[in-house]
Symmetry: C2
Amino acid sequence: MNLMEFLTPLTEVAKRSGPEGTIVISSRVRLARNLKGFAFPGWASKHDRIKALELMRPAVENLPQMKESFSAGMEELDNLDKQILVERHLISREHASKSAGSAVVFSKGEIYSVMINEEDHLRMQVILPGLQLEECWEKIDEVDTILEKQLDYAFSPKYGYLTACPTNLGTAIRVSAMVHLPGLVLAEQINQVIQAVNKLGLAVRGLFGEGTDALGNVFQISNQQTLGEDENRIVDRLSKVVAQIIEHENNARAILLEKKKKIVLNHIGRAYGILSNAYSISSKEALNLLSLFKLGIDYGFFPDVPRSLAEELFLICQPAHLQKMSANPMEPEERDILRADILRERLKGVKGPVLK
Amino acid sequence: MNLMEFLTPLTEVAKRSGPEGTIVISSRVRLARNLKGFAFPGWASKHDRIKALELMRPAVENLPQMKESFSAGMEELDNLDKQILVERHLISREHASKSAGSAVVFSKGEIYSVMINEEDHLRMQVILPGLQLEECWEKIDEVDTILEKQLDYAFSPKYGYLTACPTNLGTAIRVSAMVHLPGLVLAEQINQVIQAVNKLGLAVRGLFGEGTDALGNVFQISNQQTLGEDENRIVDRLSKVVAQIIEHENNARAILLEKKKKIVLNHIGRAYGILSNAYSISSKEALNLLSLFKLGIDYGFFPDVPRSLAEELFLICQPAHLQKMSANPMEPEERDILRADILRERLKGVKGPVLK
């Protein structure tokens, strides 16, 4: 099956939106599960990993949620396809380095996705656009309930679900929201917010999770704790914190517009000016400037420009997606040139920011 | 007399061009002269300075070259007017700090200009557009010959013209060319060229002479030595060196275009993008970006854009000229905003750079 043909076209992905969609890009809940009687993937022999995979893969593929799905052993995917899946947040960067003995299965439309033999035997997730953490939890809970009937999970009555890493023990749930916070960054309040969120026992990470940069002012807020609190409380707590972050971001944007209009316009104007005139631009710079372009659209500085244009360019500008647009493999410098060519072309009809 | 009404409008200044005008902005020759029997201005009492001034000023004002001229004691000019004269290269930054006892006289069209009681009693200069060092020398020599008949110069048969600073002793001539060298800067060859020029006993300075930055990639090449060589040889030697620098600059531009077209376009595109979309921009940044815009015009990347537009914006972007465009005194931050407003407005009809 051709991966690119199966994946939702970026133009459509870019148009997806959900509740609080201006700030919350997506919501995600993932569960980690392991099989009783099998070593965790990191400790297992290749033979045992394949045995476990053969047990799990049909169960996952046969889920009603996976009626129309893409399923592949990691050895079947080339590096570029793996990177595409990382950029779509369908597999982790760690899973991309896996080969035979590991697999990925995800549904048409990419709401449901399951990594088999990543760090745990099963890592299943639901992603929805906007702030829909509860909906994500309900959907992944349904998947889990079905799989639990067919697979013998490693479960301790005392600790809950057993996981390869003790930080996931218990509910083994990770609830996260991907939020776009250019206002808090420009207002230099982001560090305060991150500290406050950390104090509540929640983690703030970059665009691709643990240890990654907040490229394009995109932050991932997630629970740290998986033990001693049930899933509904975790989801509820995170939803409330995200609601507060949205409020802070909206406040920051309003105050910036009221008190520092010219400074904000200056940032946004320069970002637009570079995006629409550069002849070479790195992924990192492009994502950071597109964040400001998106903020400009949110502010109404670019009348008639749909927000989805910025979202689509944000997705296209990532290295693997960009490579897919060229017939030949490219060096990073060549990608930077192609990226700039695409941005100039797509921004041709867009005029610089203006005050309403 | 109103200074701004007397000065050539910037639109006209920007259109001036001379031989090798793409690279050589202007040529200048200045002579330092002092009166016998009067202490140098720096050592003289205010009373003596005024006595010397009263002797020199009528002589200067009555020069045929000054038939239509602006003449003012430094105490008659406010700080802003003085800065305007500095930005037009009609007086030095040092002279701008002078008050009663010092004066400036310059001709309509600003070719001839004389500072009275700067570091020396007389500092007379001729500026012409493009590479015209010999013409400058001939013209200032005529002025000097007339003045010498009326004023008793301090002259030593052994050393030549005596000056306040020994580095000017002898011919007391400074021959200089203002050159725009973005190609050598982009090609990272500028330091080599500066070193080579220094080895020939010539100085390379910034836009406003000694101790100033090469803002906007504009360099001032001038002679260091004033003793032991006659004026014609000094002018001739500098002309030859400037001709070589022009050749190096043209070579650098050609090689950049041939081998690093995308990199050059990237620099120029980004410069244009920021200039035409920023809402706040400092003088320094604007001059540096306008240098790249000018290079883009020279390369033909902006068809139908006259070079004089970039020249005019370059002049307007300087702090004092910008302040003159506003009715009220402005803080630096307000100037940065007005500068950006003017740039956006003036670049509205200009499209981004394209390859021919």
